[in-house]
């Protein structure tokens, strides 16, 4: 069985992935963070224990998704939500990742984000931190909507490539 400390350690190490699971539903950084907090509170205050990290992460993803759905219901939001089957596939993929190994990916991602240019930073901030829709980002940055879609796609792909490069370099592959 994972001890209480190990449980919290694993959940905190998996924070970005677990909060991301909530974000896929609520699409709001602050709300996703609150969903993660609620899940963490449950892990600490309820009498739950897990034999393995995989079991813990499965539980965490289920709980955080449920909390995200509650958040949407309470706000009366009628937004399109992915099919249960798709969400289960995404969760399965995430749960399979070991949290320890993922830490180097996260560190690399932070470094890559730090090296973004001003425009990239501004776009990510408007879109994800300020919670603007792409259309509002387009207005704010005087771009067309397709241009925002294109630049966001490039930004994400560029960050993913940057992370892969850093991980390869760390492994001595480059």
């Amino acid at each position: 069985m994972l001890s209480a400390t190990e449980t919290i350690q694993k959940l905190m190490q998996g924070r970005s992935r677990i909060a991301a699971a909530a974000w896929l539903l609520v699409r709001d950084y602050h709300a996703a963070e609150d969903c993660f907090q609620n899940m963490l509170l449950k892990a600490m205050t309820k009498d739950v224990s897990f034999p393995t990290e995989a079991a813990l992460m499965s539980w965490a993803f289920v709980v955080v998704r449920r909390d995200a759905m509650d958040w949407l219901d309470r706000r009366g939001r009628k937004v399109a939500i992915l099919d249960e089957k798709v969400l289960a596939m995404l969760d399965g993929q995430q749960v399979a990742l070991a949290t320890d190994a993922h830490q180097s990916t996260l560190a690399a991602l932070r470094e890559c984000l730090a090296s973004l240019n001003e425009e990239g930073n501004r776009m990510l901030k408007l879109r994800y931190f300020d919670g603007l829709r792409c259309e509002q980002v387009a207005q704010s940055m005087r771009l067309s909507l397709p241009a925002v879609y294109k630049r966001l796609s490039r930004l994400h792909e560029g960050l993913a490539q940057c992370v892969r490069g850093k991980l390869l370099a760390a492994d001595g592959g480059m």
């Binding site: 209480a4 400390t5 190990e6 919290i8 350690q9 190490q13 924070r15 970005s16 992935r17 991301a20 699971a21 974000w23 896929l24 699409r27 709001d28 950084y29 602050h30 709300a31 996703a32 963070e33 609150d34 907090q37 509170l41 600490m44 309470r74 706000r75 009366g76 009628k78 937004v79 399109a80 992915l82 099919d83 798709v86 596939m89 995404l90 993929q93 830490q103 996260l106 560190a107 991602l109 932070r110 470094e111 984000l113 990510l124 901030k125 994800y128 931190f129 300020d130 919670g131 829709r133 792409c134 259309e135 879609y149 294109k150 966001l152 796609s153 994400h156 792909e157 960050l159 993913a160």
Partner: protein
């Protein structure tokens, strides 16, 4: 297989909350079939969270303004929760991206020794205060967003998004400054959670149960939003009183206006001062807006008594008069063992469609019975009209004034004879709204029963 431009657009439209039913079907199909699409979606979602963390840290380190515009006063107005030497500002300014990078390495060591909550706190991006406690009264409970819990809440204490404040007894309440000239008062038996609003200029709070008095004087482009289990209420320059249960929301607007949206079906209503609204899932969620009823100064307890508005055992055998028999209740006392009481109480506020207002010179008539020769305490609780706790008033009646055990007694008690338990709030009950009336004994069960209660106007008339 690399994702095509239309496929990428489709994913962004979903994340934007903009896709149609047809597009949703297409994106579901794409994600089921295409591993790259799933990878891309997961990459975007995690990058959004990590980027959000970075902006959260840098925004607070920069100017300490509310990231979502929820707190526009200068920070010097409300001192930090921590001491200046190890304060919030110092700590967050020290956070840089380099710090974040090293934190992951350091966490392994931290986890081995720190408690779970301390560990959590070390990871959590800094937050900005969303209010400051102004006044506190009675038994209260604080659960901080970092998991800390305390039964002591002090004036001046700051509250942050995620914090939960609860009042635990009928005489507990607290007042929070939410902006300059704007405050909220949490009524008794109520629970309020501070929320982090994602909307610029909007301050959000979740009223989980009980009552909340909102007096906001927010400027243009700013508003306060109260989320209840069944509705959202928006106001900016208004005075409101809100009461909620799991299934019902009631709202009284005393100044300005408020907009209400029912969560069940999105029905909305705009209320001006002088109107009240109730919405109940048990009444098919119908929004009922009407003028606020005028106060009355008399009241008579009518049988049968609704269980919702009574504490005690309702006895109504046909052979005897209906009555409310006292039941045990543990009364919490700070830092001491709770007190065992035997209580019969009636929620007068729920038994009358109009607010009942006590006048100076009014008389409370109690009819009751007890099976043992014993002292009885009679009392009532009040609130300011449509407002918050106004105080409790009690009087002890010695057994010789209650007649023989088993016989019905009747007492006409001028309200000015009742002793104020909270004279700092109101020394006299005149002008206050009657909430509960009760009879009790301490420690001993004497078979106490209430058979009737009346509020009689100073001129002697009853309802």
């Amino acid at each position: 297989m690399k994702l095509t431009e239309p496929q990428l657009y489709l994913i962004h439209r979903y994340l934007d909350g903009q896709c149609t039913e047809t597009e949703l079907g297409a994106i579901n199909a794409l994600l089921i079939e295409n591993q790259e699409a799933r990878d891309f979606l997961l990459v975007v979602s995690e990058q959004a969270i990590v980027a959000g963390d970075n902006f959260s840290v840098s925004e607070i380190a920069g100017d300490r303004r509310a990231t979502a515009g929820v707190w526009h006063s200068s920070s010097s107005e409300y001192p930090s929760r921590e001491s200046p030497s190890s304060g919030f500002g110092v700590k967050t300014e020290a956070r840089s991206r380099t710090w974040i990078g090293f934190s992951m390495i350091a966490c392994t060591i931290l986890f081995a020794t720190a408690t779970a909550w301390n560990v959590y706190a070390s990871f959590r991006p800094g937050r900005v205060p969303v209010g400051a406690i102004k006044h506190v009264q009675g038994l209260l409970d604080f659960r901080g967003y970092r998991g800390e819990q305390a039964s002591r809440i002090e004036a001046g204490q700051q509250v942050y998004a995620g914090d939960i404040l609860e009042s635990k007894s009928c005489d507990s309440w607290l007042e929070i400054d939410i902006a300059e000239d704007s405050r909220m008062t949490l009524a008794s038996y109520s629970s309020l959670r501070m929320l982090q609003s994602a909307r610029v200029g909007v301050q959000e709070y979740e009223l989980r149960r009980g009552g909340l008095w909102v007096d906001s004087r927010l400027g243009k482009d700013r508003s306060v939003r109260i989320i209840t289990p069944t509705a959202t209420i928006d106001a900016s320059d208004s005075t409101l009183n809100i009461r909620v249960t799991e299934t019902e929301t009631s709202l009284w607007v005393h100044r300005g206006q408020a907009t209400v949206q029912q969560i069940l079906d999105g029905q909305t209503a705009k209320l001006q001062a002088g109107l009240e609204l109730s919405m109940s899932l048990e009444r098919s969620g119908r929004l009922e807006v009407r003028p606020q009823p005028l106060p009355v100064h008399t009241w008579t307890l009518r049988w049968p008594l609704d269980h919702q508005y009574a504490y005690g055992r309702i006895l109504s055998e046909s052979s005897q008069r209906p009555r409310l028999q006292a039941m045990p209740m543990l009364w919490p006392i700070p830092n001491r063992d709770p007190l065992l009481l035997y209580v019969s109480a009636i929620g007068a506020w729920g038994c009358s469609p109009n607010p009942i207002v006590v006048q100076a010179g009014s008389v409370l008539r109690f009819q009751g019975r007890n099976q043992i020769f014993h002292k009885v305490r009679l009392g009532f609780s009040t609130q300011t009209l449509h407002g918050v706790f106004g105080g409790k008033f009690e009087i002890d009646i010695e057994p010789e004034h209650l007649g023989k055990p088993g016989e019905v007694w009747q007492l006409d008690l001028p309200i000015d004879r009742f002793h104020a338990l909270y004279p700092q709030l109101n020394a006299k009950p005149g002008g206050l709204q009657l909430i509960d009336v009760y009879a009790l004994t301490i420690q001993d069960d004497v078979g106490l029963e209430i058979l009737g209660v009346e509020l009689i106007e100073p001129d002697g008339s009853t309802h």
